[in-house]
């Protein structure tokens, strides 16, 4: 298994924000069709994917695509091209949905000459139902390679506790790492602290969040800013 500590999420479309190149290469680049693409630009983003995946393949940059759950069928079709290593599915809740996506991925692999079963699935948990079903979600397809915790403070509107952590976050992180380890999946997530809400964590906060997650059993995390990549790589280093 390649080393996949830092998962840098970047819009498929050129953006006015976050254009800096990371000082360190991200272990995985996640091309985003979801949060960072406005609804009216989705179809343009889908069209741009194929070429971007080819370019990344040429420079041997590991690439995943995060799809938008509400447009998952169109997004999966747009993403399944040479160069893709896997899909990041945000906010999954029902195991049957994962099985359906798996079927579509198999079909795309056949049609487009990709190795059968080679495209992975990373589940990014973002809702109470998803966390409750974490284990059965991870078992819903043999493609699932990682179980990730999204920015639950935002997606689940979890607010701060007096202990300077988000409500339920310790339990949700613990529950997820147990499910991931039990099933041999990579646990992804960082233990974000209050104070980074409404903004993106700076490198110091990011490294602390990664370090704490590493101590909880996690082995990588998503990030949005290029300057978080080095912090995550260091936070998840073994020494």
């Amino acid at each position: 298994m390649p080393c996949r500590r830092s998962w840098l999420i970047q819009s498929v479309l050129p953006s006015t924000q976050h254009q800096d190149k990371p000082s360190e290469k991200a272990d995985v680049l996640v091309l985003d069709l979801e949060y960072s693409v406005a609804t009216r630009l989705k179809s343009r983003a889908r069209q741009a994917l194929r070429e971007q995946l080819l370019n990344l393949d040429a420079i041997q940059q590991s690439a995943f695509v995060r799809i938008d759950w509400s447009t998952r069928w169109a997004d999966v079709r747009a993403a399944m091209y040479r160069g893709i290593q896997g899909l990041v599915l945000p906010g999954p809740e029902n195991p049957e949905d994962i099985a359906d996506i798996d079927t579509l991925m198999s079909q795309m692999e056949r049609e487009r000459g990709l190795n059968q079963g080679s495209t992975q699935i990373v589940l990014m948990l973002e809702s109470a139902r998803g966390f409750w079903n974490a284990q059965s979600l991870a078992q819903a397809s043999p493609r699932v390679s990682a179980l990730g915790v999204g920015r639950i403070d935002l997606t689940m509107d979890l607010k701060p506790l007096p202990q300077n952590e988000f409500r339920l976050s310790r339990y949700l992180m613990s529950r997820t790492v147990v499910a991931a380890r039990m099933l041999g999946k990579q646990p992804l997530g960082a233990f974000w602290r209050p104070g980074t809400r409404g903004g993106v964590a700076n490198p110091t906060q990011t490294q602390e969040a990664a370090r704490e997650a590493q101590l909880m059993g996690y082995r990588g995390s998503f990030c949005v800013n290029p300057d978080q990549v080095a912090a995550i790589n260091h936070g998840f280093s073994s020494e």
Binding site: Q17, Y35, S36, V37, A38, T39, R40, L41, A128, R129, F131, W132, N133, L154, T155, M156, D157, L158, K159, P160, L161, P162, Q163, R167, L168, R170, Y171, L172, R175, G198, G199, V200
Partner: protein
């Protein structure tokens, strides 16, 4: 809408005139008429017979009324607890789905007999043991009836069951509380929730502890709390309502997000903060909660005035 707001729900003992007669003047959102742990075994029957008139007494200030029954006496208690004017039945020490199912059937029969809208009385399984915490998902998905959940599983009985120290300076209830809250959230059941606030003193009547608890709950986004002492009512009722600053910010976020969405943007900034769909959803929740609190407060004021202006014999 009014009975959705329970910033402070306080236990009152119907057998003690000093408590029950004054309760309505204290300003609580909810009074819980207790037939359970605050009532001695020899007093249980007298207490049951006082419930119906206690409803009238306790809601004179616009409060909602819950009744807490006894787990071993569900069949005996419910006929004295299910009346018009009761919003919720609290079922203590719930451990299995069969228990809530049994209570649901009795309540349904009584609703029919007493002209209460079927299914309108909420059932509130109280999780106070490890078995209840483990079975929470089945318990909360057992019924067609509307359920609430404490979204937590702390308290004295849980401490006894788990063999833990109740008044510690760390969160010894972390797992059962979060486990129960997650199950409720996964089932879209309103969870009242709780937040660990260190209280090694073990006292439950101090206003400064009430203020600390209210501030912690507010910060954590939790809207409901229980109280054992009237000193907790005012700090919780005002402390769990949104502040004018929070309402103002939520209004600005809402307006800004709706404009930027019209313009096709998904992320923008306002006053140095990132504005996106998450901030927008959070703002909508703040506004809805603020509106619900304002309605409840207006209703309580109206009910209180009506009682004060009524002829003496009805007070």
């Amino acid at each position: 809408m009014n009975n959705r707001v329970s910033r402070c729900s306080m236990f009152v003992t119907p057998t003690n005139p000093r408590f029950i007669d004054k309760a309505w003047t204290r300003g609580g959102d909810v009074y819980i008429l207790d037939i359970e742990d605050s009532i001695a075994p020899a007093e249980k029957q007298r207490c049951r017979e006082l419930i119906q008139e206690s409803i009238e007494k306790a809601n004179k200030g616009g409060a909602s009324i819950y009744v807490r029954i006894n787990k071993p006496f569900v069949d005996a208690d419910l006929p004295y607890a299910v009346w018009p004017g009761v919003d919720r039945i609290m079922l203590p020490k719930t451990q299995t789905a069969a228990e809530v199912q049994h209570a649901h059937e009795i309540i349904s029969t009584l609703e029919k007999e007493r002209g209460i809208e079927p299914g309108s009385i909420e059932l509130y399984p109280m999780i106070e043991s490890t078995l209840g915490a483990v079975n929470i998902y089945e318990i909360l998905s057992a019924l067609p009836r509307k359920l609430s959940s404490m979204g937590g599983a702390g308290g004295y009985d849980m401490a006894m069951n788990m063999g833990i120290e109740m008044f510690a300076d760390f969160d010894q209830y972390a797992f059962p509380v979060a486990h129960v809250a997650l199950a409720a959230m996964a089932l879209d059941i309103e969870a009242t929730g709780g937040v660990f606030v260190p209280n090694p003193s073990g006292r439950v009547d101090q206003a400064d502890q009430a203020n600390r608890q209210a501030a912690a709950l507010h910060e954590a986004g939790i809207h409901h709390a229980g109280a054992l002492h009237p000193a907790f009512i005012e700090p919780l009722v005002s402390g769990l309502s949104p502040t004018p600053e929070e309402i103002g910010w939520a209004e600005r976020v809402k307006a800004h997000f709706e404009c930027m969405t019209d313009a096709g943007e998904s992320v923008d900034s306002l006053e140095d903060k990132i504005i996106d769909r998450y901030e927008y959803q959070s703002a909508l929740k703040t506004l809805a909660w603020g509106q619900a609190c304002a309605q409840k407060d207006a209703f309580k004021q109206w009910a209180k005035n009506r009682t004060l202006n009524a002829p003496t014999q009805t007070q």
